[in-house]
Amino acid sequence: MRSALPLVVFVLMAGLLGYGLRLDPKKVPSPLIDKPAPEFSLSILESPSRQLSTRDMAGQVWVLNVWASWCVSCRAEHVVITALANRNLVPVVGLNYKDEPADATRWLEQFGNPYATSVMDQDGRVGIDWGVYGVPETFVIGADGMIKYKHIGPVTHESLEQTILPILKELQS
């Protein structure tokens, strides 16, 4: 019995450490899930004299995609966001994060504009309210104004098909 003790301790430790290895430290659980989407009212990239506010989106399911022209993985994600927008399921709003309007406009011209609207968060203040720490990030907001899902990093075709689309369909039904 006594001699079994080291083995038991070893198995417990190995199990615990093995579990730790499978965790992704880059995945920080967002405290914003099931919380009201932080409000903003920001100038629209295409026509800065007009503003878009979270209140304008109230009562519908929508997606907020944080992007920037300086963000390399946004380029990789662009086709996926375009695929999402082309399904015409929900409006996809772009939050142009800490970017120069001229650069952002050029980026959209070069790669195509999947966004219903893009708003400019030039000083990143709205990004802080939304807990943004790595671009790109994608939020799903429900008709009740609550954040339902947050995706950190570029959305892949798999995560779009397997996670985001089912969530959107469930929210809309």
Partner: protein, 152 residues
């Protein structure tokens, strides 16, 4: 050439000291101390194993500015911490708060200490106990010793 080398060495020397040098003006030394403590204890989420004071990431700079502005508005340290946790979660804290999911983290070491103390005391007690020897065996041993003596 010598000057160039000196310049290179100086450049290398200076680089790590560049983070967190925004020259903020504080209303009081206490506020400055609060600020320095906060940016030491808040994590930069971009470069995960650095705190805000050590990181030169854009987000870290923004969060330092946010911290500074909140303190200037008269917010308490706890309010700044709550603000950060509401947006980035408990992960942003290098010093986790004492709450239901961190009880084990905070109390675990003390539980371990108590457990180890208990085991040590138990073992010492066992060692202290006088050895009980059966009277017949004792008599036999004595007899053997005596026989040994007499054979010499």
């Amino acid at each position: 050439m010598k000057h160039f080398l000196l310049l290179v060495i100086f450049g290398l020397w200076v680089a790590p000291l560049q983070a967190a040098i925004e020259a903020y003006q504080f209303d009081s030394p206490e506020m400055e101390a609060d600020y320095n403590q906060l940016i030491d204890e808040l994590r930069c989420l971009v470069c995960q194993n650095q705190n805000l004071s050590a990181s030169d990431a854009d987000l870290a700079r923004d969060l330092r500015r946010e911290t500074y502005q909140m303190l200037q508005q008269g917010k308490s340290q706890q309010e700044v911490v709550d603000f950060m946790v509401a947006r980035y979660g408990d992960f942003v804290l290098y010093r986790p708060q004492f709450q239901s999911n961190t009880y084990l983290l905070w109390l675990g070491p003390f539980l371990l200490l108590v457990l180890v103390l208990y085991l040590v005391v138990r073992r010492l007690r066992a060692a202290d106990k006088p050895v009980e020897v059966d009277a017949a065996a004792m008599a036999e041993a004595k007899q053997l010793l005596e026989d040994n003596e007499s054979h010499k």
